[in-house]
Subunit: 196 residues, 2 copies
C-alpha cells in the first residue's frame, strides 16, 4: 500500500515534502502517491484563513520554516510571496503533469522558484519557467491545463480530499488514516509499517 | 537557562506537556518554567477560532489526540467537552497555584478530569475537585483566584505572551525563540542545548 501525499501548491509547509519525499521513498521503500487538490476552495468553504490575516501566526510560520529549512539544508529567501496569486491554476498544472509524468519535476521547480527565488508560484514567470524546467512546452501545456476537463479533474480530486476530511496541507494518508502536517510524516510511515 | 512553557488550560494539545514535562525535566535536566496565560483573550483579539467552528479540523484533532495519547500511554475519554466554559477562571487558579506551589498538581488534576473523565476544565465539579486533589481548600482558594489582583496577574502574563508573539498553545520558549505545538518540544530542547 502506498502513502497518499495530498497537497496543494500554495501551501507553505508543503515545500518540505515536495523537496524531500523522493529521498524518503528511497530510504523507506514506501511509494508516495502525489495528489494535488484545490485547498483554497476547501478553506473558502470552511471560512478558514490559516495565516494571512493573523500577523503573529504568520511571523511565527516564517521563522519556523526558516529554522526547518536550515535543518533540511534547503534554501529560503525570506519571506516568499504569500499568498500566491492563482493557486487553482498551479494545481491544475500539477495534476496534469502528474498524469503525464512530468508533474514532480514541475512542482519541485515551482517551489524552488517560490521559496528560494521569491517567484510567486501562482503567476508568471514561475508557470512558464517551471514548465520549461520540467521539459514541457509552456504554451501548449498551459492550454491543456486551462481546459474545462483539467478544471473538472481538480474538482474531482478536491471532492475526494473533502471526503477524507482534509482541511489543510500537506497530508499523508494511509488507507483512511490522515496525518496532517509535514511533521507528521514519520508518524504516517510508522502507521504504514504497523498496518502494512 | 530554563525553557518557558507557555500554555492555557482550555488548549487541548496542552494535555501532553502537562502530563509529560516532569518526566522530560528529569530526563534532560532542563528546568521548565510553567507560564499560564489567557489564550482565549488572545484568540478573540485575533478573531481566530482554531477548531470549534471547523468540523473537519475538529474531528481530525480528536483523532490525532487519540493516537498520540495511546502512544504516550495517557487516557482519553473521547471526545472531552470542548470548548471549556470559563477558561479565564481556570487559568487564574493555575497562575495562583504556581505562585503558591500547588499549581502543577492542580493543572494535572484538572486535565486528567477533563480528558480522562469528561469533566469540563472550566466549570464545576472540576474546579473544586482538582483543588482538593492539589491539597487546597476550595472555597478559600477560589475566593483568592477571583480577586481583581488575580485577574490583573493573568492579564500581565497575557501581555507578556502577546509581546513574545504567542497565538496558540502549548509553546516552549527558549530566550525569545518560540516553538509552538506539543510536537515542537524536542526542537525546543535541541535549541536549548545549542544555545546553552
Amino acid at each position: 500500500m502506498a502513502i497518499d501525499f495530498w497537497f496543494a501548491i500554495g501551501s507553505t509547509y508543503t515545500y518540505f515534502p515536495v523537496m524531500r519525499l523522493d529521498t524518503v521513498e528511497a530510504e523507506t521503500g514506501i511509494h508516495f502517491n502525489w495528489r494535488p487538490f484545490n485547498l483554497r476552495k476547501v478553506l473558502l468553504a470552511m471560512n478558514s484563513i490559516p495565516f494571512a490575516d493573523k500577523p503573529a501566526k504568520l511571523a511565527y510560520m516564517w521563522r519556523d520554516i526558516e529554522r526547518r529549512a536550515a535543518a533540511f539544508g534547503l534554501s529560503v529567501s525570506m519571506p516568499p510571496p504569500y499568498t500566491i496569486t492563482d493557486a487553482e491554476r498551479a494545481n491544475r498544472i500539477a495534476l496534469l503533469g502528474l498524469k503525464e509524468g512530468w508533474g514532480k519535476a514541475y512542482i519541485r521547480a515551482s517551489y524552488r522558484r517560490w521559496f528560494a527565488e521569491g517567484q510567486d508560484a501562482g503567476a508568471e514567470p514561475n508557470f512558464v519557467a517551471s514548465l520549461r524546467e520540467a521539459g514541457q512546452d509552456p504554451d501548449a501545456t498551459l492550454a491543456r491545463a486551462d481546459t474545462a476537463e483539467a478544471a473538472e479533474a481538480l474538482d474531482r480530486a478536491t471532492d475526494e480530499a473533502v471526503a477524507l476530511g482534509l482541511f489543510g496541507a500537506p497530508n499523508f494518508v494511509v488507507g483512511d488514516e490522515v496525518f496532517w502536517g509535514h511533521d507528521r510524516l514519520d508518524d504516517a510511515i510508522a502507521w504504514h509499517r504497523y498496518k502494512g
